[in-house]
């Protein structure tokens, strides 16, 4: 894992001291709320429905056991005992007191963490493939470049007041687990014809009010040029992105307004200038130095046989939550934070402590947060899986549903969020309960349901095979269905079915849509493939069949 150097450590300490003083001045009346609000947001502190919410950055979704224990500590000491892992690979605490925040940030700094750039119109926390460094299909671990981007973008003076927020994702595999094409900018590690690794750069993707799939703006950028290229994209955006209309301020609007060819032309012009200046060229020793922090553990020479257990439920978990590792004898284990009827992404302090203990016991140095709101143990000895499963079961963290219909992404919605129009979590709970039967889940196969409580799309509804968007009609919650979205390498934006459903009707409507799929599917195709083959009509006909009331 990356470790802070003296500059990182000093910088974070200074920011804690600054914010402590800012809070003091706010409480003493020297700062008004209008003056203070941008300062607290720069430190990840929002005011939500019930209290302040603190969003803590988890760079590229990687945590050590010590850092995970700190989250448990914060949940216990300063919150109500739990935290919420988000689709941005961050963690949020929902019940924070303003007066406690300086102490929380000081505690976080002791484990090399902070809440910077988790809000505001800056380059946000960089996200990455949660299987990074472990996936069998990976060209290179994407986290070294993610860390380099993090260092480059942290309090970068030119990019602290962008037209709007800016999200960057990185991946090193052809199979996209990081939703690259739905980010403002994304970096995919690819190989050229000569077999050298470099970067394909995407820009202009995004969800929210106006969803777009990102475009390739750089086919193959050499490693030493990558920061110069990314800075060129940022410069074009910073100069031409709209600042007059918050709804048109993201880079996706710019790219689609001027067209991808013009965008590329402008990027190339800036890139040539920055490259010629030479100040942003990445020296190989520096790349090597950062890469060394992410060196894989010393793998043992182990049998690659599938592990067995006397516990008959183990095989379900093995089948669904364990993925192929690049090293024989090892596996990647997904820890579902989607218990049937639970809150997607929530983890209790005891669970976090228990996981940290498990990591120590089995020599697992790091854990990942996935954008699908699950946790991942990236390097597990296959022979340890039965024992780990047993411990996960005791922690109520062994739900065998990764990638299945009950593995639902849901934003906090109107249960917590000040921006929300409708609740998301109860809809996720209702749907999960309808499909609780594991045989039925296995029969349905891969199906990604994603739910957002407002148009801002934190629940990635545009990218759901089945997406659900909560809307407000005169103070009452309604839910629109979207079908056919994907956040993977076959990225697409879901199509809106039609009028919204009531909170009571949306679950049955989803069930009818899925039953329709089961009738229509051919050759074990996924829901998404069936939808792409047959289109909206048959699903729409069934979805509205027994509906009691539709919003128009």
């Amino acid at each position: 894992m990356y470790r802070y150097d003296e500059f990182d450590a000093q910088f974070v300490r200074e920011r804690v001291a600054q914010f402590r003083y800012q809070v003091e001045r706010r409480l003493a009346g020297e700062l008004t709320e209008d003056e203070f609000k941008p300062l607290r947001l720069m430190n990840g502190l929002y005011l939500q429905l019930h209290a302040y919410m603190l969003r803590i950055a988890i760079p590229y979704g990687t945590l050590s056991a010590r850092q995970l224990r700190m989250q448990a500590h914060i949940a216990r000491k300063y919150d109500k005992g739990y935290g919420h892992f988000t689709t941005r690979q961050n963690i949020q605490f929902n019940w924070i007191k303003l007066v406690d925040v300086p102490d929380i940030l000081a505690d976080l700094a002791t484990v090399e963490m902070h809440a910077l750039q988790t809000s505001g119109n800056c380059i946000r926390n960089v996200t990455a493939d949660h299987f990074a460094g472990a996936a069998a299909d990976e060209i290179e671990d994407p986290r070294p470049i993610a860390e380099i981007i993090r260092q480059w973008s942290s309090i970068h003076p030119e990019f602290t007041y962008l037209p709007r927020k800016f999200k960057i994702a990185v991946s090193g595999s052809a199979h996209d687990r990081a939703a690259l094409k739905f980010h403002d900018m994304a970096v995919e590690i690819v190989k050229n014809d000569a077999g050298e690794a470099g970067y394909r750069i995407y820009a202009g993707g995004g969800m929210g009010r106006t969803p777009y799939v990102g475009h390739v703006v750089g086919d193959f950028v050499a490693k030493e040029d990558v920061l110069a290229f990314l800075e060129a994209v940022m410069r074009v955006y910073n100069q031409s992105g709209r600042r007059d209309n918050i709804y048109k301020a993201r880079i996706k609007i710019l790219v689609n307004a001027i067209g991808v060819d013009e965008m590329k032309k402008q990027i190339e012009r800036e890139f040539a200038e920055i490259k010629a200046a030479g100040t942003l060229q990445l020296p190989q020793p520096e790349i090597d130095r950062i890469t060394a922090y992410f060196a894989p553990p010393a793998f043992e020479d182990l049998s690659d046989d599938e592990p067995t257990s006397l516990d008959p439920t183990f095989k379900n978990w093995l089948k669904q939550n364990v993925s192929k590792h690049r090293q024989p004898g090892y596996a990647i284990a997904t820890i579902s934070l989607k218990p049937i009827g639970g809150v997607p992404g929530d983890a209790e302090h005891g669970q976090m402590d228990g996981l940290a203990d498990l990591m120590d016991e089995y020599g697992i140095a790091e854990i990942r947060v996935s954008h699908e709101q699950n946790l991942v143990l990236p390097h597990v000895r296959k022979k340890d899986l039965p024992a780990i499963y047993k411990k996960l079961k005791a922690l109520h963290l062994a739900t065998p549903n990764a990638g299945l219909v009950t593995d639902i992404i849901a934003c906090p919605g109107l249960d917590y969020c000040d921006l929300a129009n409708a609740r998301s979590i109860p809809i996720a709970q209702d749907i999960a309960q309808r499909f609780e039967n594991l045989d039925r889940q296995h029969d349905i196969g891969e199906l990604k349901i994603k739910i957002s409580g407002c148009i801002n799309a934190c629940g990635h509804h545009h990218a759901g095979h089945i997406g659900i968007l909560g809307v407000d009609k005169k103070g009452v919650e309604y839910y629109q269905l979207q079908l056919g979205g994907s956040g993977a390498e076959d990225a697409s934006i879901g199509d809106i079915m039609g009028p919204g459903f009531t909170a009571r009707d949306i679950g049955p409507a989803v069930e009818r849509v899925i039953d329709t799929y089961l009738k229509l599917r051919q050759n074990n195709e996924r829901f998404l493939d069936t939808y792409r083959r047959v289109g909206m009509e048959p699903f729409k006909n069934m979805a509205y069949l027994e509906q009691t009331y539709a919003a128009h």
Binding site: L27, H50, V343, G475
Partner: protein
Amino acid sequence: MAATPALQVLTANRLRDGDVVYWRDGEWTDHFADADVFDGKTTADAALAAAQAFVKGRVVVNPYLFGVREEDGRIRAIEEREIVRSEGPSVRRDLGKQAMDSFDVQI
């Protein structure tokens, strides 16, 4: 803009801890059930104006009025958002105002 609701309650968040508070008789209470209910625009706006002193005094942030209605002899927020604020998360009935000992269940 929607028409002003016939009945309104004044709310804010407490600066120090962010807790939801309601206006009652020139002060703030944690309990929605205790809140003053204004049946006229003049009295509601006067309370909102008076609340500004508490903003200046660093007690609360963001005071605003919202619509309520009488239902089975009880006052209830019209919009879901204010129902959730006055009770707590609907998915965690053990947390928020609904979990306070003195909470008067509004069903």
